[in-house]
C-alpha cells in the first residue's frame, strides 16, 4: 500500500443551520496532499456547506454551527483564528467575483492588500506575473493590467479569481462549482488549469458535473442528504460504486 500524505482531515464534521436539522452529518474523510478531490451530489446535499466549513466561512453567520473536527496538517481549524485559516486556504466561488473597483493587477494582489502586507514594486510585479502565468492568463492580459478586472470575459474573470487565491500561496484551494457559470470552452480551460495546479496546491472542488469530476479528480466524495455516502478513487467510484445511492446518482436515476 502506497503511503499518503494527509493534508486535511474531516473528523465527524457536522454543520447545522437550525437546531433541528443538520446540513452536513458526521462526515469523516482524509484528503491527500496535491490531489484533486471532487465533492459530488444532488442539489442541497451539503456539498457547498461542507466546503465552506473548511475556510470557516460559516463563522460569518452566527446561527450556523459547525461541530466535530477539521484538521489542517493535524491542527484543528475550528479552534484557529479565521483570518489565519483563510490565508492558508484559498477559495474560488461559483460566480466569478473579481473586485470591481480594482485593476487586474490589483486584483491579483488584493490578498496582500487585505492582509495589510506591503510588497515592494518588484515583488508585486513578480507575484502578478507568476500568478497570471500559472492560470494561463498572462499572455492575454499583460498589456491591459491596469484595466478593471470586470473588463474580462467570464472565463478570464474566473481565472483571475484563481490567480488571486494562488497569490497568497495557499495549502489548499476550495472551489465551489467554479465552472457552472461558464461556457464549455472556458470550462475546459479551467479544468486543464486545475490538473496543472495540483502539483502546487491541494484542490477540493464541489461540482454538479459528473463528467468534470471524472475528468479531473483522483478522489471523489459522493454526498447525499448531508451524509458522505461514498469516498474513494474516482475511477473505482465511476466503474464500480459500492453504495446503491451512488450508483443511482451516477446512472442518472436521481439528481
Amino acid at each position: 500500500m502506497e503511503s499518503i500524505t494527509p493534508i486535511l482531515e474531516f473528523k465527524k464534521t457536522c454543520v447545522s443551520y437550525t437546531k433541528q436539522t443538520m446540513a452536513v452529518k458526521y462526515v469523516s474523510a482524509t484528503i491527500e496532499k496535491n490531489t484533486i478531490t471532487a465533492i459530488m451530489g444532488p442539489s442541497g446535499c451539503g456539498k457547498s456547506t461542507l466546503l465552506r466549513a473548511v475556510n470557516l466561512m460559516h463563522n460569518l453567520y452566527p446561527n450556523i454551527r459547525v461541530d466535530g473536527e477539521i484538521l489542517l496538517n493535524g491542527e484543528n481549524i475550528l479552534s484557529m483564528e479565521p483570518i489565519d485559516v483563510r490565508r492558508r486556504i484559498g477559495m474560488v466561488f461559483q460566480r466569478p467575483a473579481p473586485f470591481p473597483t480594482m485593476s487586474i493587477f490589483d486584483n491579483v494582489l488584493s490578498g496582500y492588500a487585505l492582509n495589510g502586507i506591503r510588497l515592494s514594486k518588484e515583488e508585486k510585479m513578480q507575484t502578478v506575473e507568476r500568478c497570471l502565468k500559472s492560470v494561463a492568463l498572462w499572455n492575454e492580459v499583460k498589456d491591459v493590467l491596469n484595466k478593471k478586472g470586470t473588463f474580462l470575459s467570464g472565463g478570464q474573470q474566473q481565472r483571475l479569481c484563481i490567480a488571486r487565491a494562488l497569490a497568497m500561496k495557499p495549502d489548499i484551494l476550495l472551489m465551489d462549482e467554479p465552472t457552472s457559470a461558464l461556457d464549455p470552452i472556458a470550462t475546459k480551460h479551467i479544468e486543464e488549469l486545475l490538473l496543472e495546479l495540483q502539483k502546487e496546491v491541494t484542490i477540493l472542488i464541489v461540482t454538479h458535473n459528473m463528467g468534470q469530476a471524472k475528468r479531473i479528480s483522483s478522489k471523489s466524495m459522493f454526498m447525499y442528504l448531508g451524509e458522505l455516502v461514498e469516498y474513494g478513487d474516482t475511477a473505482t467510484m465511476f466503474s464500480n460504486p459500492t453504495d446503491e445511492r451512488t450508483k443511482e446518482y451516477l446512472t442518472g436515476k436521481v439528481g
Partner: protein, 279 residues
C-alpha cells in the same frame, strides 16, 4: 380604440398639469432673476441701505450682490460635509453589517426619526447646544445644524448601497484572509462609491436651501467674512433679508436663481457620475 385614445389623452393632460407649476416656478425665477446676474452680483457683498437708496433715487440698478452669502454657504456646507461624510458612512456601514443587532435597529429607527424631524426643531436644538455655550452665532453653529440634517441622508444611502452589493464580494474579500474592516474599506466601500457619492450630493442639495436652521445659528452678516466663530451670511438667509427690505426686494430673484442653478447642477452631476461609475 376610442377608449385607448381617450385614456392616452387624459394621461397626457394630467401629466402636463403636474409639470406646469414646476415649469412656472423655473420660468418665473429665470425671467426675474436673469437680469440681475452679472459678474459683480457674485463678487460683491450686499449693498448698504444708504447706497441702495441713492441708486434707487438716481434710477441706477441696485449695486452689490450676494458674495457674502455665497462665501458663507460654501464655508458652512464645506464644514458640514466634511464632518457628515465620515460619520454618515461609518454609521451606514455599521447598519448594513449588523442589521439583526438590536442596537443597530434602534439606530436605524433614530435615523428615520431624524430624517423626518422638522428643521426648525433641529435649529432650536443646535441653538441650545452650540450657540448658547459659544456665547454667539457662528458659522460653526450653522454647519452643525446642516450636518445634523445631512447625516440621515448619507447614512441611508450608504446602508442601502452596501446592502445591494452581491454577498460574494464581501465573502471573496474575507476568504482571502482580510479582516472585516479592511474588506469594508478596500472592497465594499469602493464598490458602493457611486451610491454613496450620489447620497452625499443629494444631502448637500437638500440642505443648501435650508433657511430656518441658519436663522437660529448663523444669523447673517452684511460683508464677506471667512471667520468660522462669528455670525456669517448664507444665500437663503439673504433671500429672507431681501424680502424684508423693500429697497432690496429686486435682489431676491438673482439669489433664488443662483440657488436653483446650483442645486440643478449638483443633481445632474450626481446622476451623471452615478451612471459613469456603474458602467
Amino acid at each position: 380604440m376610442v377608449k385607448d385614445k381617450l385614456m392616452l389623452w387624459s394621461i397626457c393632460l394630467l401629466a402636463t398639469l403636474t409639470v406646469v407649476p414646476l415649469l412656472a416656478i423655473l420660468g418665473e425665477v429665470l425671467l426675474r432673476g436673469y437680469d440681475q446676474l452679472s459678474w459683480t452680483f457674485f463678487t460683491e457683498p450686499t449693498p448698504t441701505a444708504y447706497k441702495t437708496m441713492e441708486a434707487i433715487k438716481t434710477g441706477e440698478p441696485i449695486p452689490g450682490g450676494i458674495a457674502n452669502g455665497i462665501v458663507g454657504t460654501m464655508i458652512m456646507l464645506g464644514m458640514a460635509t466634511v464632518v457628515a461624510i465620515p460619520l454618515g458612512i461609518l454609521c451606514g456601514a455599521f447598519l448594513a453589517e449588523n442589521n439583526k443587532n438590536s442596537f443597530a435597529q434602534f439606530v436605524s429607527y433614530l435615523t428615520d426619526l431624524l430624517q423626518g424631524t422638522p428643521s426648525v426643531i433641529i435649529s432650536i436644538i443646535t441653538y441650545i447646544w452650540v450657540v448658547v455655550p459659544m456665547k454667539g452665532y457662528s458659522a460653526i453653529a450653522g454647519s452643525a445644524a446642516l450636518c445634523i440634517m445631512m447625516l440621515p441622508l448619507i447614512i441611508r444611502s450608504t446602508e442601502e448601497t452596501l446592502k445591494i452589493l452581491p454577498a460574494s464580494l464581501k465573502e471573496a474579500g474575507l476568504a482571502l484572509g482580510g479582516n472585516k474592516a479592511r474588506v469594508m474599506l478596500k472592497v465594499q466601500l469602493p464598490a458602493a462609491f457611486g451610491g454613496i457619492f450620489t447620497g452625499v450630493l443629494l444631502a448637500i442639495s437638500r440642505v443648501i436651501g435650508e433657511t430656518a436652521p441658519l436663522m437660529f445659528t448663523a444669523l447673517g452678516c452684511s460683508f464677506i467674512r471667512f471667520a468660522v466663530d462669528k455670525p456669517i451670511s448664507a444665500v437663503p438667509l439673504l433671500i429672507w433679508e431681501f424680502f424684508n427690505d423693500p429697497n432690496l426686494q429686486e435682489l431676491i430673484w438673482g439669489a433664488s436663481l443662483f440657488l436653483l442653478l446650483f442645486v440643478l447642477t449638483l443633481n445632474l452631476s450626481s446622476k451623471y457620475l452615478a451612471k459613469k461609475w456603474n458602467q
